[in-house]
Symmetry: C2
Subunit: 220 residues, 2 copies
DNA sequence: GTCTATACAGGGATAGAC
DNA sequence: GTCTATCCCTGTATAGAC
C-alpha cells in the first residue's frame, strides 16, 4: 500500500467517472450529485460492518439488511461491490491525510512512514491489494481507472520529489526519476504483500530503507 | 511475477498440502496419489480453454461442459477453483524452467530476465497477481500456503546469491541479504502490476535495473 | 430518484449413486 | 474412487413500483 498522498488527480478522474460529469465551476454547488449524503451513510455502515465481520464476510445482502434495505438499493448508489470498496478505502485514506500536516520527507522516508502506519491496519492493506488486482481484470473498468490514476498521480508526485533532490545534488543525475518513482512504489506495495503473508519473515521498513542507497535523503 | 526459479520447497509443501501426505521414500512410487492422470487432463483442458475464453470467462461449469462432466467432478480433483489456477500457473512455470539451462545470473539480472519473458504472457502475470492477493484472504488457506512457501523459497534462493556476492566483494557487507532479497522480489512483482495497468508509462526492466546500484553484478 | 422483486450465473458444499 | 444432483450464498442485471 502506498502512503497518504493527496491523490487529487485520481480523485477527480474517479469522481468524473462515477458521477459522469466533470466538476466544473458553474454548477459546483447545488444538488448536481445524487445523494452523496446517502452514499456516505452506506459507506459508514460498510466500514463498521467490515470492522466486525471482516470484508470477506460482508456481502451486499448482509450490509443491506443491516441498513434496512435490499441489496439492490446499494447497487443504485454503487455500480459494483468494488466501487463500494474503493470508497471505503478512500474514506480511510482521507482520514489519515486529515490527521495533521505531513512533514516534507523524502520519497523513501515517506513510503516507510506509510508502511509503518499500515502495520496497525492489515485489513486495509489487504483491501488495497485486492482492489489493485481486481483492477487488472477486464471486468472491473471503474476499479481499473481509479487504481491506474492513483498510481499515476503517486508516481508523478514522487518523480517531482526526486527531480528536486537531483537539482539539489542529493540524488545522482543519471537516475531516471520516473523509473525510480515507480520502483519505490512497487517495492512498498510488494513488500507489504510479502509481510501480510509472512509477518515474522519480512520487515518492510528495513527492506525499504535499502532504497536510500539509490535515493539518499538528508535526514538519513 | 517472479522468475522461473525451481521452487522445490514450495512444490513439496504444496504437494503435501494437496495430497495430505508427505512424499516420503518407501511409498514414493505406487498409486499413492489419486489419479494424477485425470488431474493433468483437466489442467490441460483448462489451459486451452483459458487461452481462448480467458481466465475470467472460464467458469468451472464451462470447463466441465467442455470436458463432458459436471462442475462437481472438477471439485473432486481440485478443492477449489483457486487450486486449479495454481496448478495452471505451476504448469506454465515448469514449461519455462524446462526450456534450457539457466545461465547463472545475479539476482537483479535474473528478475529482469523473468520480467522480459513475462511481457509476452500478460495473462499469466495477471493470474499470478490474482493468486497472490487471493492468498491474503482467509478463505483460501491452500492458496495462502502455496504462495507463502513460494515467496519463502524465492527469498532463500536470492538471499543465497546475495550472500555469495558479498563473499566475493561485489555487494557491500552492510546490506542485509534477507532484506535485499525481499526487496528485489517485491520490486519485480509491484512493477509488473503497474506495467499491466499502464504499459506505456512503466518500464519494468529499466526500473529494476536501478537495483543494480544496491546489488552490483559483474555482468552489469 | 429511490428502491423492491426477481432471475441468472458463479463458486462452494453436501448427499448419495455406482 | 469417481461423479451427478441439488442446494446455498454470492455479485450482477433487468423490470418495474412509487
Amino acid at each position: 500500500m502506498s502512503p497518504d498522498a493527496s491523490t487529487t488527480a485520481a480523485d477527480r478522474a474517479y469522481d468524473e467517472l462515477v458521477t459522469g460529469q466533470q466538476d466544473q465551476p458553474g454548477r459546483a454547488r447545488g444538488p448536481y450529485r445524487k445523494s452523496s449524503e446517502r452514499r456516505r451513510q452506506i459507506i459508514a455502515s460498510a466500514i463498521s460492518l467490515f470492522a466486525t465481520r471482516g470484508v470477506d464476510g460482508s456481502s451486499l445482502r448482509t450490509l443491506g439488511e443491516a441498513i434496512g434495505v435490499s441489496h439492490s438499493a446499494l447497487r443504485h448508489y454503487f455500480a459494483s461491490r468494488d466501487e463500494l470498496l474503493v470508497e471505503v478505502y478512500r474514506a480511510h485514506e482521507h482520514t489519515i491525510s486529515d490527521g495533521g500536516a505531513q512533514p516534507p520527507l523524502g520519497p523513501v522516508s515517506t513510503m516507510i512512514a506509510g508502511a509503518r502506519r499500515n502495520r496497525s491496519i492489515p485489513g486495509l492493506v489487504r483491501l488495497y491489494a485486492t482492489l489493485t488486482t481486481d483492477a487488472l481484470q477486464e471486468q472491473h473498468p471503474a476499479t481499473r481507472t481509479y487504481v491506474r490514476e492513483r498510481f499515476r498521480s503517486l508516481r508523478a508526485q514522487l518523480e517531482g520529489q526526486i527531480r528536486e533532490a537531483q537539482r539539489q545534488g542529493t540524488v545522482a543525475e543519471e537516475i531516471d526519476a520516473a523509473d525510480a518513482a515507480a520502483l519505490v512504489i512497487a517495492a512498498s506495495d510488494g513488500l507489504q504483500i510479502q509481510w501480510l503473508l509472512d509477518p515474522e519473515e519480512v520487515d518492510v521498513g528495513s527492506a525499504l530503507s535499502l532504497l536510500a542507497r539509490i535515493l539518499p535523503e538528508q535526514g538519513a
